[in-house]
Structure formats: structure tokens, C-alpha cells
Symmetry: none
Subunit: 147 residues, 2 copies
DNA sequence: CCACTTTCAACCACTTTGTCCCACATCCTA
DNA sequence: TAGGATGTGGGACAAAGTGGTTGAAAGTGG
């Protein structure tokens, strides 16, 4: 499982170094070196080990082609998405459309979301945390879920 | 399977360069170098490896000649449709009717839809994504479906 | 049915891009 | 402080992408 926040850099060529900690998880948990990198909101990249992405595809496949939410989801993930491979230095190429939309150059945060990773612009992430406090309402919701 | 978005260009002659990644999939998964290129909505081109298109044809053939949806479907796909071949540079000619209707010149997005490809005007696609954000409501819908 | 025109597919050659790999820098641990 | 692990940069070369020319075929009109 991917957990926590590890700073990393996206270099001039658009390559993201996957922090060693996450690399280790990948090596022991997933077979291939393939990833699906995409974004739903255009503000953060999502990196799925390919097997995890396929799991999502399978669930989607059960929905009708004409389900509007599915269409919207696919339109968006397809726009930013690409299958990528890791090089020997544990780097992977972030598609340029996504790099621009989510402002992923230089310092970024690579965040573990249990089954996938997220890559975010550090500044934007910090701001969101500051301006978007966890409310009593949110706590109540978690409480309701027994967490 | 075709996945993700690989930007490409349609040149002055109306030739679309199929991105290398998709070319690779075609080479290993499909026998012929033939494609059926068409469009249902006139806003985006669909490119089917010929074998995939035949699969659709067979399903259609089973329907009555008088099935109104079948007629409509064929009317539309026939309007834009053509069988095309790839040249040695992995390019294929987009029929001019379709090029004009879907504004396919210059920068386009070639998008993998698993069994076929879609070609869209990049600018129009970008706008659609930007103006059509994924809402909390949409997320709730997916959540409800267990995705 | 022939001759002229136009179109288009195939090929060639050049340019650009991206991938892979090497080597160095930095950090952390022992 | 030494040595391994992690992270960074950049260059070389192969792959991908582009544009243009030519010859054959299809289309058109007389």
C-alpha cells in the first residue's frame, strides 16, 4: 500500500523520479513495470500500477456505454491518460498535457493513496490544505462510517 | 488494447500519423493493415481495425433490415466511412468529408478506446474538458457504483 | 475510345523527438 | 568518514514524425 508524502522533482524533460519508498512497494506488490498515468480534475496526476487501472476498467465495463457519468469519466481520463514505463532510474514520463494542466515541474509531492499515487504541485497542495480545513461536519461523516 | 491520448497531426494532405504506441498495438494484435474510419456524431473520427469493424457488422446483420436504429446508424457511418490503408510511415488518409466535419487538421488527439481509436480536434477537446468539470455529484455517482 | 487532367498512393530523404544509458552528485547509515 | 543507496543531469543514437516528389491510376470531356 502506498502511504504518505514523499517530495520529488519533475525534471526539464518531464521525468518524475518515483521515490524509493514507493518504488519498493511497486517491486514487491506488482508484476509489470507499466503504469497508467492520468487525471480526473486536471489538477493532480494519478499514477496507477497497470493492474490497478485494469481493475477500474473492468468495473466501468459493467456500465452501459451511454451512462453519462462513465462517458464523462472516460473523456477526462482519456484526455490526460497515457500508459508509461519506468526507466532504470525509477523515473517515468509525465505526459505533457498533464504536466501543463497540473503545473508539474520542479518540486512536487508524490502522495500515496493506498492503491495508487498522486502527484501534486507543492504550492497548490499546501494552499489547499491551509484553506480547506477539516470541519466538524467532515468528522461527523467519518464517525458515521465508523472510522 | 488502445489506451490513453497521444497527440498527433493531420497534414495538408489530410494524412494522420498514427502514434507509434498505437501502431505497435496494431502490429501485434491485428493481422491486416486495413482500417475502417468513420464517425457517428461527425465531431470525432472513429478508427477501427478492420477486424473490429467486421465484428460490429456481424451484429448489425442479425438485426432486421427495418430496424430504424440500425438504418440510422448505417446512414451515418456510411456517410463518413471509408476503408483505408496505412502507408509505410504509419499514416492513413482521413476522408475529406470527415476532416471538415470534425475539424481534423493540424493538432489532433488520438485517443485509445480499447478496441478502436478516436481522433478529435485537440483544441475542441481541451475546451470540452475545461468547461465540463467532474463534479462532486459525479464522484458520488461513481462512489455509489463502487468505482 | 482516346487524350488530357487531376488525384492519390508510394517512396525517399530529412528533421525532430524521445529513450536509454552512463556518470556524477548527494544523502543517509553504519 | 566510508560506502551503499538514492537522486540528477545530460549526451548519443535509434525511433518517430514530417514534407515533398514522382509515377501510376482514376476521372473527365471531347
Amino acid at each position: 500500500m502506498f502511504r504518505g508524502n514523499h517530495p520529488a522533482r519533475v525534471d526539464e524533460k518531464g521525468r518524475l523520479k518515483v521515490p524509493a519508498e514507493f518504488k519498493r512497494v511497486v517491486d514487491e506488490k506488482y508484476s509489470g513495470a507499466q503504469y497508467y498515468i492520468t487525471s480526473l480534475d486536471g489538477k493532480r496526476a494519478q499514477i496507477y500500477p497497470f493492474e490497478e487501472w485494469q481493475r477500474i476498467e473492468e468495473k466501468l465495463a459493467r456500465l452501459s456505454t451511454f451512462n453519462p457519468t462513465k462517458k464523462k469519466f472516460l473523456d477526462r481520463t482519456n484526455y490526460y491518460g497515457q500508459v508509461v514505463e519506468m526507466d532504470n532510474q525509477a523515473r517515468l514520463l509525465v505526459p505533457s498535457l498533464l504536466r501543463e494542466a497540473a503545473q508539474l515541474k520542479g518540486e512536487v509531492a508524490v502522495v500515496g493513496m493506498l492503491t495508487y499515487l498522486e502527484v501534486r504541485n507543492l504550492e497548490a497542495y499546501r494552499k489547499e490544505i491551509e484553506e480547506n480545513a477539516f470541519t466538524a461536519e467532515d468528522e461527523a461523516t467519518l464517525d458515521g462510517l465508523g472510522i
